[in-house]
């Protein structure tokens, strides 16, 4: 396909956007043609989300020009953008959790007959869109009953609801598993064939190389260039993004494993059934599985968020019944939840305060607390993480998604836990930063820390872990040393194919 032979569908050129002292975008540009999938790439904080929100009318640019089919758009609002067929999937799902899936999908344009909202129509059409995404979600279910991954899919369904001409996806796959990601890209391919212009942001290089036609790279808010992916390889893109060449993303330190740090024997709770596992000192254990397989549920049980109902748990050989997150932390367990905005960070607090939260929480009630504790925690936690901020006294809500994630991880690293639980730790984190995080982690593991990582990126698990446990419907169905693991083998167990084989 030669996109250049057509006229661009939507363009943004010379875009500049500042937030106080921060220059988010400076002479950035994006040009989308009908019938293409266009990857928007860049490190965390390079301005991708800002650019997409400007295209969707969610915030105005300071300067610059946006055109749609050659027509300049001035003073674009979200409502206007939608009317013109521009749909956006936000980096953080923007849903009303008290409302139903169906109503969220049609928010702001519920179908009416004679001025009366037709609920039958809402649910019928929502069910259609959900079916297209191969989602088995009842459109009448409230969003609050869905896991983060499901919510992300609903957010996508919302954007698809009015058959947009321009579809902008901001890290839409970051909380999806492989199966959902595949479904999504199959759908995007169909939309491309129908002439839709699609832009997507992703930090997963394989996704970009496999599915996109062209890629635009931003660095520090500036336009670096656009490449046809059929004529480029990923190293070129990475060096455009980072300004240098990265050799490998994964750091795997060879660590002599120590004695058992955590042992679970036939632990059950809610979706989890009879979990047996061991994590040794200096060991990195990965958790693979589909959405809803129970990875998060498992980590939540260990972190004391939910109490186990049956079975036994040992930390450092001592039998424990973890009562609360506080209790877990007293046992030396650190935990990074998957929903950084909802469960991790206090968004209007500064980076310092967020970084110090776990340290401060571990103190006694009337223990004195000063900014010094926060600063020390920040300094220790962010060591090697390269958080991109204009000032650590800035509110964490003003950071880009990836940088927020780093602050959250830093908060846990600051308490030097014996066992660290990471739930989707690199969601929305760029390649360079992933490297930073894992370099840091491997240093910690050498110090004897044990680690559990739940991730939907199988490559990452294989690259980082010593051992990978695969969960299927709340049970551990496979325990594979990373050296012997392949994406195919993990996917085989995760999808429950072994059951079909047995039958």
């Amino acid at each position: 396909m030669s996109a250049e032979s057509l006229l661009p569908l939507i363009t943004a050129t010379g875009i500049r956007k500042t937030f106080g002292p921060t220059v988010a975008l400076d002479n950035a540009q994006a040009v989308l043609y009908p019938g293409e999938i266009h990857a928007l790439m860049g490190e965390n904080g390079s301005g991708k989300s800002t650019l997409l929100t400007i295209l969707a009318g969610a915030q105005p640019a300071d300067t610059g020009k946006i055109t749609l089919r050659g027509q300049e758009l001035v003073g674009l609002t979200p409502a206007e953008a939608r009317r013109l067929g521009i749909a956006v999937v936000s980096q953080e799902p923007q849903l009303s959790s008290a409302l139903t899936v169906g109503e969220n999908i049609f928010l702001g344009r519920l179908p009416t007959t004679a001025g009366r909202v037709s609920w039958r129509e809402v649910h019928r059409r929502a069910a259609e869109i959900l079916a297209e995404l191969q989602l088995e979600i009842d459109p009448r279910a409230p969003v609050s009953s869905l896991s983060l991954g499901r919510r992300q899919m609903v957010e996508i369904a919302k954007a698809l609801a009015d058959r947009p001409q321009v579809l902008l996806l901001d890290e839409a796959t970051s909380s999806l598993d492989e199966a959902d990601t595949r479904t999504l890209f199959a759908l995007l391919a169909r939309l491309r064939a129908a002439g839709t212009a699609i832009a997507f942001v992703s930090h997963r290089m394989t996704e970009v190389m496999e599915h996109a036609d062209r890629a635009t790279v931003l660095r520090d808010g500036q336009y670096i260039g656009t490449r046809l992916l059929s004529q480029t390889d990923e190293h070129v893109l990475v060096s455009m993004m980072v300004g240098r060449d990265l050799k490998s993303y994964w750091h795997k330190a060879e660590v002599a494993q120590g004695e058992a740090l955590l042992r679970m024997v036939r632990v059950s709770r809610g979706p989890l059934k009879s979990i047996d596992l061991t994590v040794n000192k200096g060991e990195i254990v990965g958790l693979a599985g589909l959405v809803g397989s129970g990875r998060s549920a498992l980590l939540r049980t260990i972190a004391g968020v939910k109490r186990m109902e049956a079975g036994e748990m040992f930390v450092n050989r001592a039998s424990v019944r973890i009562q609360s997150p506080r209790h877990a932390r007293q046992l030396g367990i650190g935990y990074v939840p998957e929903d950084r905005k909802g469960e991790g960070l206090v968004m209007h607090w500064s980076l310092y305060r967020n970084a110090g939260l776990s340290r401060v929480a571990a103190l006694r009630a009337l223990a004195p607390v000063t900014e010094r504790i926060d600063r020390a925690a920040y300094a220790k936690g962010t060591e090697g993480l390269k958080v991109r901020t204009s000032d650590p006294r800035q509110a964490v809500s003003e950071l880009s998604g990836g940088n927020q994630q780093k602050v959250l991880i830093a908060r846990e690293l600051a308490i030097s836990p014996e066992l660290l639980l990471l739930d989707e730790p690199t969601r929305g984190v760029d390649v360079g930063a992933k490297e930073d995080i894992y370099a840091q982690i491997s240093a910690l593991v050498q110090g004897g820390m044990g680690l559990m990582i739940a991730s939907s990126e199988l490559q990452e698990l294989i690259g980082v872990c010593d051992r990978i446990l695969v969960l299927f419907q709340g049970q551990i169905v496979a325990d594979i040393p990373a050296a012997e693991a392949s994406e195919e083998a993990l996917a085989y167990w995760a999808s429950g194919a072994h059951l079909i084989g047995a039958a």
Binding site: A56, P78, R83, L95, S96, L99, E103, R116, V117
Partner: protein, 325 residues
Amino acid sequence: MMTAADISQTSSTTSLATILRRYAGVGAALVALILFLSVTQENFLKYNNIMNILRTNSVMFVAAVGLTFVIISQGLDLSVGSMTALGGVFLAELLTSGVGAWPAIALTILACTFLGAVVNGGLIAYGGFNFFVVTLAMMQLLRGAALVISNGVPASTFMWDPVQWVGDGVVAGLPVPVVLAVLIGILGYAVMRWTRFGRSVYAVGGNETAARLAGINVKQVRVAVYGISAACAGVSAIMLTGRLTSSQPVSAALGLELSAAAAVLLGGASFSGGAGNIGGTAIGVLFLSVLANGITLAGVPSYWQGIATGAVLIAAIALDRIRAK
């Protein structure tokens, strides 16, 4: 508290079972209370007593309907009581200055709506002011205005039949204020449930950013919501003035905002917004009304009434929690 699942039931699947489940918390408390009073108080089930309960509390219900919109949109309107008082004074002023009764009624409701939409709504939506401070300030300001306009003196309105009719008339054997309250309740329910506007109130309360990105004009919704609350207060003002055959600048509807808000919250709405509905509000108002009636019927000394009311309120939400588990 109602769960989101409750709200999302569609009309097509609304069966008795769903209704029961939806309101089981405070609804159950209400049923228990009614059964208890029917058995222990011989006068409770008398037609006159029931009408007395309904007539007395129509005013609170109408105010609570308006407040339901505000609370669902994640706000609060503390100026409802003062607005009701001012509405009454304004009405009396219009009447005594020779405006006809029906036009005066219409003008009063319009004036209240205007004040609520422009001052409360405008400052909160367009000025970005804190809703608690704005409506608290308006609570003082409007009560002050009622005092200044009337010079603190109640004005009799009993010569104007339409006003009396609204507040204390009878139509088809039923008290007019009760009929009006039911109509307003049904209207509010329909608007909340079946109009785009109603749904955008939920959307704004549930997640303001999501609503804005979905193209909903959040500011307009907020203005409308405070306008509706004030309009309902205006209607309450007419009803109350008619019922009392006079405007009451000092004492009319004192504390109405708090009891109406309690009713709305009892009915399943929450301050985190996005949840609740008029059906729940009706149950909340009925609960408070029957409770108050029962307490006087049973001859509980007025000193003890505060204690009884507080304790039963807590019991009611406790029941609600038990059900939710």
